[in-house]
């Protein structure tokens, strides 16, 4: 845990400053680490022209975890990839993304390379395909360190070993010489996280990092991420389709549907009192241990095609409580309580989900 100690020491100055500010007077909060405004992503190639994100706004403080929850195609991965500008050719990104005072969308390629790693790092869902199969784990981590810092191979390798120990890979020294295929899924994902942490990022993006893992290993990796995130004071954007995973790790949750946030708020509020019908439906579809045999209440239908969105609220065709007005115009993202925003005319009018459903 030597690296953790050094990293923690580095961060301690910032942390103590943050704590002293947070505890007595939250009024003078530090500027958020991540500030995303009106983020729009459109893919335009000769074959397709589709808008995938329709104006996202969010901010994230140091040490906070924001979970993006939604189903396939809702735009979760596009959102986090645009933070790193890892988008397919033909993507047009509008809006602004400010991370630690840096305007990500204005960076030139060389500057972007310098930012990827030390400022923002990402751990992908499939570590098996994210590592190069032809090089050892140790080499790939050390290579990343050397790309960003003026250190010798020996020092970089030592740092790689520290990182593997930090993410609790057993016999880390031996694993430095392991090729990706020689590790189990859980160990590969830990190595992936070590790689992401190798340049001490301020913002860690985790794109479904535990989806491919067994439940027993998933909980290990989630606990590890939570511990690291607290220890290193990183901000984390965590993408998942599993509400259970969000419950374990999130401070804030943003529920996505068809390229928009439909509900955002603290995890406890979202779980206890979801206000958007989609959020409620999503929670209702999760098979929990309490309901053996009872009939599930899935959301009917499927998400709309992003090239042919309905004119009004994009959830309206599947919504059980839709009103005629819902098909007319997209509802605004309205604040209904401190930190709690909902994109639904019914929720915004003040009615609770229970009252609306008949």
């Amino acid at each position: 845990m030597t690296l953790a100690a050094t990293l923690a020491a580095q961060e301690s100055a910032q942390e103590s400053a943050q704590e002293s500010e947070q505890a007595p007077a939250p009024a003078v909060a530090p500027p958020p680490l991540v500030q995303v405004e009106n983020l729009r992503v459109r893919i335009k190639t000769p074959d397709v022209d589709v808008t995938l994100l329709h104006g996202l706004n969010f901010s994230l403080n140091q040490g906070e975890v924001l979970c993006l929850v939604g189903e396939s195609g809702s735009g979760k991965s596009i959102t986090v990839r645009s933070l790193l500008r890892l988008l397919p050719p033909g993507a047009i990104v509008e809006g602004s993304i400010i991370v630690d005072g840096i305007d990500i969308l204005a960076l030139k390629p060389a500057q972007l390379r310098a930012v990827r790693g030390p400022l923002i790092a990402i751990a992908f869902q499939e570590p098996a395909t994210s590592f190069d199969p032809a090089f050892t784990i140790g080499y790939q981590i050390a290579e990343t360190v050397r790309a960003h810092e003026q250190v010798s191979w020996a020092d970089a390798t030592r740092r790689a070993q520290d990182l593997l120990e930090l993410v609790q890979v057993p016999s880390a020294k031996r694993r430095l010489d392991a090729y990706p295929h020689e590790l189990s899924g859980g160990l590969r994902q830990r190595a992936m996280i070590a790689l992401a942490l190798s340049c001490r990022p301020k913002l860690l993006i985790a794109d479904e990092p535990t989806t491919a893992l067994d439940a027993t290993v998933q909980i290990q990796v989630l606990l590890l991420l939570r511990e690291l995130q607290r220890e290193l004071g990183m901000a984390t954007v965590f993408v998942t389709h599993d509400v259970g995973v969000a419950c374990e790790i999130a401070d804030q949750v943003a529920v996505m549907y068809s390229g928009r946030f439909v509900e955002m708020g603290p995890i406890e509020r979202i779980i206890d009192a979801p206000r958007h019908p989609y959020t409620a439906g999503l929670l209702g579809s999760v098979v929990t241990p309490d309901v053996p045999g009872a009939r599930l209440e899935p959301i009917p239908g499927a998400p709309p095609d992003p090239t042919a969105l309905p004119p009004g609220c994009s959830f309206e065709p599947r919504c059980r409580v839709a009103r005629p007005a819902c098909a007319q115009a997209m509802p605004a993202f309205t604040q209904i309580a401190p930190l709690h925003q909902v994109r639904c005319v019914l929720a915004a009018s003040g009615a609770a989900m229970g009252d609306i459903e008949k």
Partner: protein, 355 residues
Amino acid sequence: MTILSPQSDYDTAPDRGGPRQPMLIVQGLRKHFGIGGGFNGKAAVVRAVDGVSFDVPKNKTLGIVGESGCGKSTTAKLLMQLIRADEGEIILDGDPVAMSRGVSLRDYRRSVQMVFQDSYASLNPRLSLQDTVAFGPRATGIPQAAAMRRAHDMLRRVGLAPEVFASRLPHELSGGQRQRVNIARALAMNPRVLILDEAVSALDKSVEAQVLNLLQDLKQELGLTYLFISHDLNVVRYISDRVMVMYLGKVVEIGDVKDVFDHALHPYTRGLLSSRPSMNPRQRRTEPPLSGDPPSPIDPPSGCRFRTRCSFAETVCAEREPPLASLGLDQQVACHAVTPGSGHTQASAGEGASQ
């Protein structure tokens, strides 16, 4: 079952053994895969499935759970006869399979069908949905027109209107719709047993719930028996009547789903169950219930295979392999710590109830 094809050879095989005869009895199923042994490698065997026995009552669902590499899918493929078992016996409704005087492999395969996890990879991209579903019936000699009629019936039954979907191709469907086609294709053979190998795992939660409801309905309507393999314990709890927990090619616990989930006896089952996310952000897990990964099935630990990750492991666990012993009415468990007279310090010395 009036909606099904009138072809007599497509009616469900008669219920030969009566309602109390288990639909499937599996005895001592074993499959070892040889690896290495080539130029300079040392030959080794992966003990993928190592003496698995269980039975599945009629019109019930047996859930099979365990971590990756525990032999769930190999068991499914062995049951489906996609790979040949080294040892072991399968008895379908009282008749041994692929033996003289038993049910022929051809009839067995018609009675047992399978749905795979990857809905896209398991469909032929160039066959329309009606051709896909009609393929099995056609291959067994049903005339084209009757097979098509049957395909349309099946598509309608899984919630895909044939007027809309019959001539579509797999890439035009969503994941949930494709999985419905796979279910329709399996049902087109009029099977008695359906093996669902992680059939809902790749689906989004809201779609997963739709497909689970569909499976429940079909089971009732068609009197099917399911083997439901999944790593999602909540889903298994939801859909199963009995559950079997596997670890490194062995059954460690099997029993009524309520008993196993509410009173798990094997330390592995308990670890697996408490690895589920809490669904309560105010009561987060603080300690991982199980550490590390399962050891390699190439050279599994001696005695009890779980002992390397078990907090109750003692010397007896390394010396002797715990047998699958009946505890309680309908619950069997392979653990020295809960088996009376095993020599484990936590076990009671002689006969009598444990725990």
